[in-house]
Symmetry: C2
Subunit: 214 residues, 2 copies
């Protein structure tokens, strides 16, 4: 009984994700699903990205949180369309929530949509939203042991951002172990190391997005 219901929930999500993907593909919009623990720096990465690229790439943002519109306000201040989804306790976004949010966005005028998922390194990776790419963010203070401890998210991601590298000198994060563990889970995965707060090392990421929407 339990398995049957869970299957149905996942199947319903899959169908809606497919519909989202078709809708967005038709309009030539590339979509990123940004996944991390709480506080890894997703919103700061987004703020820097919007600041840098909004005049080159028409973009919009969907913010996912349990509660509050704090993150949407931060993005709104940079002058791009943004919708906040409040899951009210739910531990991840799903394709249906995103479908509803899409109706609030000017889809005819954007080329890039970034969806910031609920801060959670486990659940979001199981729910396709209709994105082109999953990007996982890990921050240095979380520790280099996290890829092996949360392998599903790292296996499913297309790209990894290692954020808060300005903390490297004051932490015991082992870069070598981290790169080795990421490669053991996902041989193809690129890692972009940056400090979004300090605006350091973000060029590769910006170039990646420029190429993505070409």
């Amino acid at each position: 009984m339990q398995i049957k219901v869970v299957t149905n929930v996942l199947k319903a999500n899959e169908d809606m994700a497919k519909a989202n993907r078709e809708l967005l593909k038709e309009r030539g919009i590339k979509v990123i699903n940004l996944i991390s623990s709480p506080g890894a720096g997703k919103t700061t990465i987004l703020e820097r990205t919007v600041e840098k690229l909004k005049d080159e790439i028409p973009m919009a943002v969907i913010e996912g949180d349990l509660m509050t519109t704090k993150d949407a306000e931060r993005i709104f201040n940079h002058g791009v369309p943004v919708v906040q989804i409040n899951t009210r306790g739910g531990c991840h976004l799903d394709a249906n929530m995103v479908n509803k949010a899409l109706k609030e966005l000017p889809l005819d005028n954007i080329k890039l949509l970034i969806i910031e998922n609920v801060g959670n390194l486990v659940c979001p990776s199981s729910f396709d939203l209709g994105e082109d790419l999953k990007v996982v963010v890990l921050s240095v203070p979380e520790g280099d042991d996290k890829p092996l401890k949360y392998p599903t998210t790292f296996k499913k991601a297309d790209l990894c951002i290692l954020n808060k590298i300005d903390f490297l000198p004051v932490s015991n994060f082992n870069l070598e172990s981290f790169y080795k563990d990421v490669a053991s889970l996902n041989e193809e995965m690129q890692v972009f190391a940056m400090s979004a707060w300090k605006e350091e090392g973000m060029q590769e990421w910006f170039d990646y997005l420029r190429k993505l929407v070409q």
Copy 2:
């Protein structure tokens, strides 16, 4: 249908949590359920706690992770009984997993059991394990905005540890906002500020545990 099944899952967990609670209470064992995001420092707090108190308070640890025995190995090295639960993708521990782990521990010889939940600031707070206290750990690099964004966990917790305070000078964490937001969610909650890695500010926590098991 879906709601019915979820209710049953939660009800089944509640029943098992009750059984765990009775079993542990009979033996006079106090139980803490330690909850946080990945990388907030739960295992380091545990290592320091075990080092400091194991000769005063007979204790045991249950480690929860999706995969790996990394955390259990860290605790094992300090010479206290430890069991690792691997949820293999599951985003939180449940009372049934804990019940199985209890069978592997020398319950007649301990007074304190600390259960380190899966790193996740959302899901663990909904699943009672049979504990006496929920302790939520937030680390400074995660940011002061987290209590309001993850309110359920902060509302349900009995105690909050603010860890990694050694990062305060190099972060934009606003202590005043943090304390205000925590109090707005949970007026009674005590906050212990510490850096477990640097072994700073842990005295209050140690005294709290000493008093708890009296």
